[in-house]
């Protein structure tokens, strides 16, 4: 291949038809408060793990809802389940249960398991 000094950038389109939202649907089914998240980021702001690692619960929830599960699978194990995020959530999302259910879904290999 000739070296042109650049490569073709990957499209950043969110393809909902191709993505698999089964993990998000599994979580929402067992923890309905997952649906009311407004992605404000309070959970990430108060997160001890997020302070020391790249972990962001807000980001992971967005990726789950998009069906882009790969990053979630690689990072969901970092949560220490301390529950501080539940205390600060303005929408009353049971975030600890969201994390637990996400782990469960990946372990059960719900439909795709990435």
């Amino acid at each position: 291949m000739s070296n042109f000094g650049f490569t073709i950038s990957k499209a950043r389109i969110i393809d909902y038809d191709a993505n698999d939202r089964s993990i998000a649907e599994y979580i929402a089914e067992h923890e309905p408060s997952f649906r009311v998240c407004i992605e404000c980021g309070c959970c990430s702001a108060t997160c001890t793990t997020g302070n020391f690692t790249r972990f962001s619960l807000r980001e992971l929830q967005i990726f789950l809802k998009r069906g882009e599960n790969e990053l979630v699978r690689d990072n969901i194990g970092k949560c220490m389940l301390c529950g501080k995020c539940i205390l600060v959530c303005p929408r009353g999302v049971n975030t600890r249960n969201v994390v637990t259910l996400a782990r469960e879904a990946f372990n059960k290999k719900v439909k795709n398991a990435v």
Partner: protein, 353 residues
Amino acid sequence: MKIEGKRAIWSEYQKEIADDRYFYVRSCIRQNFFPGSEVAFLRIMREELGKDVYEHPCHTTCSGIGYHGDVVPVETAMTVVARQFALMTEAGYKNYVPSCITSFGLYTEILETWHHFPEVEGKVRKQLKKATGREFEIPENLAHASDVIYKFRKEIGAKAKYKLVNKNTGEPLKVVDHIGCHYSKMFPLKGVGGAEYPYVLAGMIEEWGGQVIDYPERRHCCGFGFRQYLVQANRGFSIACSKQKFESMQPYKPDMIITNCPGCPMFLDRWQYVINEMEGKTYGCNGEGIPVFTYEEVAGLVLGYDPWDLGLQMHQIDCEPLLEKIGYEYDPEKKYEINGTVTKINSHSLLNI
């Protein structure tokens, strides 16, 4: 179906295009990319349609490429544009016809700005007078050169020696039209068909016998985008845009692409080669690329001009398969002939420059 209502709505998407006496201004980059196009426009306008088209030797860049590349401030661009208008006024013309889509967009943007902020126009008038001693009048009519060809598409069609029809099957050629973003995406009312229903090229294609392809990414940018391309490291975004368009149009098996912007034919043409080098993909039939043309080149082909006079040898994607489809009579041996001497271009030496 209420046809009258549709006609009334469609009338809002039309624009006024002058009949004659045009002050024509060339593009900075087209003369390097596809130098035959502007010559073909002048030939068609003067020889085929008998129109008065004037070119001023003192015309310079409109500075739009620098403005959109973030190196020329808008006040400077306005004064440069005011000087072009002064040249038109001095020559006694009132209908301004730029060859470049970005120029057309910049002129439109500046005229709209002056319309809403007359004090800015006053400031520019003072600056121009101080710097050059010139004065100017606002053009009565501003139309892009493709608007003018669109206006006379029927007259060109009536003189056509060839139609955009496959000679072997008798089927109309499947043509992708690509409108430059600065034509009507910034000021939709200033373009034929606006941003939603671009018709300036589609009208030509239909009139000259082709079939317009309406594919999902029809209105997507070609990828030029100035800043995306001017910085080498960003060119991945530029080529990604073109690739998205090619992948979207490929299932419709287009025979050709027709464009009305200086950058679009360049990038839709050259990026096909680069994608092929990088990923080994081609988007046309039989492993070939999809030939890309400017509207002047297509008009010239329809009128039966020599393809090498139109500058089709400057295209990365060979035009010969398309010419064969149309049943065009031409001399393949003259492709690289300059003043009677055949000049062979070595593509590898070009790459290594």
